[in-house]
């Protein structure tokens, strides 16, 4: 197996933060990591002079390469060392085209610059940001067998998925001065000689690519000293103060995108109120979604002012009666027909427009075309839509004409009014007013439905049930707490049973954002029920939180969990936690620190790590021993070994003699 890292930066560019290149760092990295080949891949630039220096200084194969911005993603383009001169002239064209952040070249430009892409090893960012996707990836398919990923989890996922490209994991690191921690992300390839052709052929076969030299994809390198970890389920054992948490912290620092569930993290906040608060926050999307309809309705209802409408009707009636009373005061101006003329009502074309749109959909729909034509003649539908469109046009024209006439009426009426002492009737749009009235009634009905007690969500998560229930607000206090304001709501609450009046009253409070008004009509409570259908106890709340946290880890690349037993009973650990951890470990590395035999002994670990504090020559050393659960001995990187059975007995059972005693006493009880 050859260990390779084909993604290394040696020149700071606009795409990097500044660093100073060090050939010594590079030499140390190659030595420490025991690399067989590297590639120099700077952003959109290739420096042949620097390349030749590096090549002469490193005792391994150094491939000339470049990392190019293609469309919205990055790709590595690597060639054989003997072709470095032609590569230099081609890459200079890339540098000319990409000069500032955001610049990129297209697939076509890539071909124009580099010619036959078959002659290169091309590695797009794949499960790594910014990835090459969509059309560009499709166009590249012919030349690409391998894609870069950024974590062992994604590596394993790609290896297992036959639809995915062969993954490679590289360091993508900067060989800078004073680099202390060397990267651990490299890939092993089973290939004879190290040429682009041989690499391409091996990388085309997933069976020839691995995260570790001897253990294939079961293990991957974790620390730079060579310490490995299983890509599945790891159990980390050790006495108190032997460096377990220290090791977890180190993993947390060395890996990106880690889910780290610390010890006691789940039991610290067990106050019921706080728990409910967190739950409500997490579910706020559901609440918002459920009430989105009410929000839409309110957005329109706030524009309806029934009081003002009544005033308009009143003005009309009053002026009409007055005009009748004063009919004998008519003069030449008020006798003009237009003096009391009412404006044309302007109709609404909305329903006609939606009808036309619906028929258009019936005609144009491809998916159900056969069913449509079975029942309806398309030609008849076309005739229908034509007629409706003509009607729409005619009505539209009519409306435009009426608008012109209305504006004339308004002009003439105001001209006449200033010349006469007769009363002019103030017009009113009774249609709109009546519609407003109906809208308010419907709004009140909607709020009435909403206030009915009912369960609106029931979601089961690992045996727990999350329930959301709606109900009326029980008092002004609850409304105040929804508002988050300090003002009193008791006066407003008096109107709570008259939704429209209540809304008008809320509108008077300038501190309530209009977009939040929908929150003031119905209370939505969340609760978690246990398996028996009762609300959860304090302990069960912690269990629920643990399961949620573990579930959430799916979005990360590695899960670290420190002593899950610290606040849970064994039955819960065995029946729920172990199974979930085992399932998750099938898709990502999991590390559990434990002293508990139920977790450590029954979880079915793939790999065991044991930390031990040793005093050697008066100096404290923390050592990690590791191996498979069935191994008789666990080994440390520096060649020491330790008896696995003793490790397990001491860590999980308080020692062999305690275990024996316990076993005998259990037997006695049983008999």
């Amino acid at each position: 197996m050859k260990k390779i890292d084909l993604h290394i930066h040696t020149i700071p560019t606009i795409s990097d933060s500044h660093f100073i290149f060090s050939i010594d760092t590079f030499k140390n990295y190659v030595r420490e990591a025991k690399l067989d080949a590297v590639a120099i891949t700077n952003h959109d630039i290739f420096d042949i002079t620097q390349y030749k220096i590096i090549q002469s200084e490193l005792p391994i194969v150094v491939f000339p390469g470049i990392e190019i911005n293609v469309d919205k993603g990055h790709l590595l383009l690597i060639t054989n060392p003997e072709r470095v001169d032609s590569f230099d002239s081609r890459t200079s064209k890339v540098s000319q085209r990409i000069t500032k952040i955001g610049d990129n070249i297209s697939y076509e430009e890539l071909v124009e610059i580099f010619g036959n892409l078959d002659e290169y090893l091309i590695i797009p960012h794949y499960e790594k940001s910014p990835a090459i996707t969509g059309n560009t990836l499709e166009k590249l398919t012919r030349f690409v067998t391998v894609g870069e990923v950024d974590s062992p989890k994604k590596f394993i996922r790609s290896i297992k998925d036959t639809e995915k490209l062969t993954p490679v994991l590289f360091s993508d690191s900067r060989m800078k001065e004073n680099l202390i921690n060397f990267p651990t992300r490299q890939t092993f390839v089973d290939c004879g000689n190290l040429s682009i052709e041989a690499l391409k052929s091996s990388l085309g076969d997933k069976a020839k690519v691995a995260l570790s030299a001897d253990e294939g994809n079961k293990l991957f390198q974790l620390f730079e000293d060579g310490q490995k970890l299983s890509t599945g389920l790891n159990v980390l054992l050790g006495a108190r103060s032997s460096g377990k948490t220290h090791t977890l912290n180190k993993i947390n620092e060395s890996e990106e995108n880690v889910k780290y569930i610390k010890q006691f993290a789940l039991v610290q906040q067990s106050e019921e109120q706080e728990f409910k608060g967190t739950l409500e926050k997490k579910r706020s999307v559901f609440t918002e979604n459920y009430l989105s309809g009410l929000k839409r309705v309110i957005d329109q209802i706030i524009n309806i002012d029934i009081e003002a409408n009544e005033q308009l009707v009143d003005n009309y009636v009053t002026t009409l009666l007055k005009a009748a009373e004063d009919f004998n005061r008519s003069d030449v101006f008020s006798k003009v027909k237009l003096f009391d003329e009412i404006e044309f009502t302007i109709g609404n074309l909305q329903s006609l427009k939606s009808l036309i749109e619906s028929i258009r959909q019936v005609i144009e729909n491809k998916e159900y075309h056969n069913i449509v034509t079975k029942h309806l003649e398309i030609n008849s539908l076309i005739a229908l839509i034509m007629e409706l469109i003509s009607l729409l046009r005619a009505n539209h024209l009519e409306i435009e004409k009426k608008k012109v006439v209305n504006s004339l009426i308004r002009d003439i009426k105001s001209g006449l009014r200033i010349r006469t002492s007769a009363v002019q009737v103030e017009d009113v749009d009774l249609y709109r007013i009546s519609l407003d009235y109906k809208a308010v009634k419907k709004f009140e009905k909607i709020v009435e439905f909403l206030k009915i007690d009912s369960t609106i969500l029931k979601e089961t998560i690992q045996g727990f049930t999350i329930e959301a229930q709606k109900r009326k607000f029980a008092g002004a206090g609850e409304i105040k707490s929804v508002s988050g304001l300090k003002t009193a709501f008791s006066a407003v609450y008096q109107l709570y049973d008259q939704p429209y009046q209540y809304l008008r009253e809320l509108l008077k409070n300038d501190y309530i954002p209009r977009s939040d008004l929908y929150k003031f009509f119905v209370k939505i409570d969340y609760k978690i029920l246990n398996r028996d259908g009762f609300e959860v106890s304090g302990g069960e709340r912690s269990e629920f939180r643990l399961l949620q946290e573990i579930n959430d880890s799916q979005n990360y690349d590695i899960l670290l969990i420190d002593e899950p037993e610290s606040s849970f009973d064994n039955i819960f650990l065995r029946s729920d936690v172990n199974q979930i951890l085992k399932d998750i470990s099938k898709s990502m590395p999991v590390v559990i620190v434990t002293h508990n035999s139920t977790v450590g002994g029954s979880v079915g670990a793939d790999y065991v790590l044991y930390t031990k504090k040793e005093i050697i020559g008066g100096k404290i050393t923390y050592r990690i021993y590791s191996g498979y659960p069935t191994d008789k001995k666990l080994h440390s990187i520096d060649g020491s070994e330790i008896n696995n059975y003793e490790v397990i007995m001491n860590s999980l059972e308080a020692g062999i003699s305690a275990y024996e005693k316990r076993r005998i006493s259990y037997e006695a009880t049983k008999n």
């Binding site: 004998n328 009502t345 009737v425 007013i433 519609l435």
Partner: protein, 101 residues
């Protein structure tokens, strides 16, 4: 249902209780009731405006204005019924049909 009528040269409008009152006593509540009936009732009638029968000149002015308005509304009744049926229909149905306890 008759909403407006002309009797003894005077105009009358219908009250909520079914009785009629002289049209110069119309107020905004009375007018809104007439509007509601115009939209909601399946069959309505008005005595046609006719200034040779309706002698009272004050009544003529009021009657004519109300008569024209109600008739216009009645003509738009279908449009109105469509529009009110569509008002917040999706949201109305969604909340109405929420599960009950």
């Amino acid at each position: 249902m008759k909403l407006l009528k002309i009797e003894n040269n005077n105009g009358f409008f219908r009250l909520e209780d079914g009785n009629f009152k002289e049209i110069d006593a119309l107020d905004k509540e009375g007018l809104l009731s007439l509007v509601n009936w115009t939209f909601d009732e399946d069959e309505i009638e008005y005595d046609e405006f006719n200034d040779s029968i309706l002698k009272n000149q004050a009544h003529q002015i009021i009657y004519k204005s109300i008569y024209n308005k109600l008739r216009d509304l009645r003509n738009r009744r279908k449009e109105y019924l469509d529009e009110t049926a569509q008002l917040y229909l999706a949201d109305y149905t969604k909340y109405r049909d929420s599960p009950r306890q």
